[in-house]
């Protein structure tokens, strides 16, 4: 009975219902937008540093991460590659070999990280995009791709022959002559200063250890399910290997993101203050408007408890409705700014690009944002029902019915 009356009341005063729904809907919208921008930027930071370079999860031999020596590396044949690749949530799996060496040309020498790329497969996106001059190494030749700052420093150009010196597996000497076949600009100073890329099998031979790998980099379909996937991979591996997530690999990035989250959290609290106030204002006005009606209901014999129940039911329905409307309204906007991110233009754009980030502000379309903030708004709006209940408690029908 009450439910029916509540439902009818909602429809009877459509104007008030609409205003209240819009207040709640906009509350959801604003809260979602704010989080969506912040999270979008955070996701982008992770994506640029993680997805293209390290992978979300890496497998190493125990001890390699502490001491990145070639003797702490592993061999491809010992790893159940196929099993890992078939795991749920694993998007791609890439064997990697990266060794520190000294590169010399003429009188100049410099430290470099020499990385192996599988020349039989599609080259990694990161390297492909960075290639600004020359070609990928020929699989049958000793050829190398060089970061542009490193090339500048040692004064090398395409076609020059460089000397690479390092320590191979089990102390074997590793020395080789490589011809520069191309130059790489990653838009990231650190990579430009340190990178050399050669064919993977070529580098394994140089190390005098065919099949040797320093890590296996794994990308995920759903980066959020990081820990579950880590556990699943660890199960496939023996204790000789450790499985690390990007959060452990890049604690600085994790720290940066946590700072951003904490800052965003405070911003959201401030926004919620305003939102609560707006919603309270709406509830307040709606309640004042209904005093007369409530007076009449009590005069004709409706018990207070029932009147309260009526108001609670009405408001809960309106709140749920408002939250749904807000979430439905927010999603297309999030989606729009996700696919058409705000662009940073001018001089700043070039500088951001130099830091290896796209000069755009993308929005996140993580559905959990809608759920979380929808629930917070729903909670606030249900909490605010206390106000009309308080009013009904104190209501005297005769006074309420006076105009």
């Amino acid at each position: 009975m009450l439910l029916k009356l509540a439902w009818k009341n909602i429809w009877r005063n459509r104007r008030r219902t609409l205003i209240t729904i819009s207040a709640i809907g906009f509350a959801v919208l604003f809260a979602v937008m704010m989080r969506s921008v912040n999270q979008g930027v955070e996701e982008q930071m992770v994506k640029t540093s993680v997805e293209n370079r390290l992978g979300y999860i890496q497998i190493h031999t125990q001890g390699y991460w502490e001491e990145k020596a070639i003797d702490n590396a592993m061999f491809a044949d010992d790893i159940p590659m196929q099993k890992i690749e078939n795991l749920h949530n694993v998007a791609s799996i890439a064997p990697a070999l990266e060794v520190g060496m000294i590169v010399s040309f003429k009188n100049n020498s410099r430290g470099t990280f020499m990385s192996g790329i599988d020349l039989n497969a599609e080259p990694p996106q990161l390297v492909k995009n960075a290639l600004i001059a020359g070609n990928f190494p020929d699989i049958n030749k000793n050829e190398v791709l060089l970061g542009i700052e490193l090339a500048d420093f040692i004064d090398a150009e395409i076609g020059d022959t460089l000397v690479y010196l390092g320590v191979g597996y089990h102390g074997a000497s590793a020395a080789g002559l490589y011809v520069v076949s191309g130059l790489l600009d990653f838009h990231m100073p650190e990579l430009n200063r340190l990178s050399s890329y050669v064919g993977l099998s070529n580098l394994q031979e140089l190390m005098q250890a065919p099949g040797i790998l320093t890590s296996i980099n794994i990308n995920l379909n759903q980066p959020k399910k990081l820990l579950e996937t880590q556990t699943a991979i660890q199960k496939e591996m023996t204790n000789e290997y450790e499985v690390m997530t990007w959060k452990e690999l890049l604690p600085d990035l994790e720290q940066l993101i946590q700072t951003s989250i904490a800052k965003g959290y405070i911003m959201n609290i401030i926004l919620y203050l305003i939102i609560s106030f707006v919603m309270f204002g709406t509830v307040l006005m709606a309640t004042q408007e209904r005093k007369y009606e409530m007076g009449v209901l009590q005069a004709i014999g409706m018990k207070r408890r029932k009147a309260m129940a009526l108001v609670v039911i009405e408001n809960v329905i309106i709140s749920i409705f408002g939250v749904i409307v807000g979430a439905l309204g927010a999603f297309p906007i999030m989606y729009y700014f996700h696919t058409n991110p705000l662009e940073i233009t001018g001089e700043q754009a070039a500088q951001i690009q130099e830091m290896g980030i796209d000069p755009v502000i993308p929005f996140s379309i993580d559905p959990m944002i809608l759920v979380n903030h929808g629930l917070v708004v729903l909670f606030i709006s249900i909490l605010l029902i206390l106000y009309p209940i308080m009013i009904i408690r104190k209501l005297k029908p005769v006074e309420a019915m006076k105009l």
Partner: protein, 409 residues
């Protein structure tokens, strides 16, 4: 007009609950706007100050050739050094300055290697000019080890598995282009706000530097200068440039464009949030005033009946909102000023809000700080937004048909 204002003013006081809501929205709006700006500016200023104080200083001087190619041989011409120092010392704005010898080299331990910028410094002068000496996480500042001490950054220590007292092998070229190698003892580990800096920069004694590169004359690559007012950096560097030869002074913005980029990026982020706040606030005002206008339908209809024209009715409703906003503004301002000042001294601990795993350091504390002009601009911004928000309900009142409105209950 006077009477319209009077009626509007009394209407404000008639329904205090409603007025309270609009009033409160504006107060909170102004407070929130200012506080958000103060938080971002505070974070930014802290980072910027940290970077300038620990690494960049306000002005740096390098040889022209060094700017094109930072190599050992590209030092400031020795015969110019005396003149440059006189010029710097005679500038009234200059508070402190320091000279450094710099070369690129490689640091090696059993755990790996890293390409590094090796700076030879005079510890006493350096202490006056930069805050590196105060930023030691462990160890001491050139007091413990007599034989080839080195200060390294936290990131480098992590990467190369170094601790105070352990040794680090440095190799670089001497003036003849031959490689020299020497073992240094880690004297202290510092941390600046920039992880990148901490990873690739280290300090040794200038005397050790000169000895290892086998220089016969003093080789200086860099002067770092601190002046009394950051804002004068460009002017002072320009005036220095007019008096020196063979070297160039640059202000901090030129040396580290990423810091000025930080400025802009943070402003952009802060503006997006401001816009969201202003929209939320304006929406609240539209909502409340709209209800007010709907509730007073009969009264407004009567005014139209007895001959008040539409412009006056519109103005009356606008003035009600304006009155509320104008009273709310100073209160919001005071609230903002109070909280910004308070958190500017005490700080907000981000650690207490996020469940973050912070490393020890200053980064988890935010001290609010704000450009005084922001008080003016943001208040005006919010006031304009609230007045624009009042237009929607006021226009609604104009659409009333007086005959119907006057009978509405």
């Amino acid at each position: 007009m006077k009477t319209i204002i009077k009626i509007a003013w009394r209407n404000v006081w008639r329904n205090r609950l409603r007025s309270g809501v609009v009033f409160g929205s504006v107060v909170i709006g102004i407070w929130a706007g200012l506080f958000v700006v103060a938080m971002s500016q505070g974070m930014l200023a802290q980072q910027k100050r940290g970077m300038l104080e620990s690494q960049i200083s306000n002005i740096q001087i390098h040889a022209d050739s060094y700017l094109a190619d930072p190599k050992l041989e590209n030092c400031i011409p020795p015969n110019e050094l005396a003149n440059i120092e006189t010029v710097i010392a005679s500038a009234p704005e200059v508070k402190h300055f320091v000279k450094r010898s710099i070369t690129m080299g490689t640091g090696t331990t059993a755990s790996g290697f890293s390409n590094l910028k090796i700076m030879g410094i005079d510890p006493e002068k350096e202490k006056e000019t930069t805050t590196i000496s105060e930023r030691l996480l462990s160890g001491s500042y050139f007091t413990t080890f007599k034989n080839k001490p080195v200060l390294i950054g936290r990131e480098l220590a992590d990467e190369l598995n170094l601790e105070v007292g352990k040794s680090l092998n440095l190799s670089f070229q001497n003036i003849n282009g031959e490689f020299v190698q020497a073992g240094f003892k880690v004297e202290g580990i510092f941390a600046t706000p920039s992880l990148q800096y901490d990873k690739s920069n280290l300090f040794i004694l200038q005397s050790d530097f000169m000895e290892l590169v086998e220089a016969d004359a003093e080789m200086i690559h860099e002067y770092a200068i601190v002046i009394d007012d950051l804002e004068k950096s460009t002017a002072v560097s320009e005036s220095i440039n007019q008096k020196i030869n063979g070297a160039k002074a640059q202000d901090w913005a030129e040396i580290a464009p990423d810091i000025s980029y930080m400025d802009e990026a943070s402003e952009l982020g802060q503006n997006i949030i401001l816009v969201i706040i202003v929209f939320a606030l304006a929406f609240g005002i539209v909502n409340t005033m709209l209800m007010a206008v709907l509730e007073r339908k009969r009264e407004l209809g009567m005014l139209l009946c007895i001959g008040m024209n539409k412009t006056s009715v519109f103005l009356m409703i606008m003035i009600e909102t304006i009155c509320l906003s104008v009273i709310a503004a100073p209160i919001g301002l005071m609230l903002a000023w109070g909280t910004i000042t308070y958190f500017g001294i005490v700080g907000i601990n981000l650690e207490s809000v996020g469940d973050a795993l912070y490393k020890a350091g200053i980064d988890s504390m935010v001290f609010t700080a704000i450009d005084p002009w922001a008080y003016v601009t943001i208040t005006i911004f919010i006031l304009i937004a609230s007045i624009i928000a009042a237009i929607v309900p006021a226009r609604k009142a104009l659409k009333y048909n007086p005959a119907e409105a006057v009978r509405a209950v």
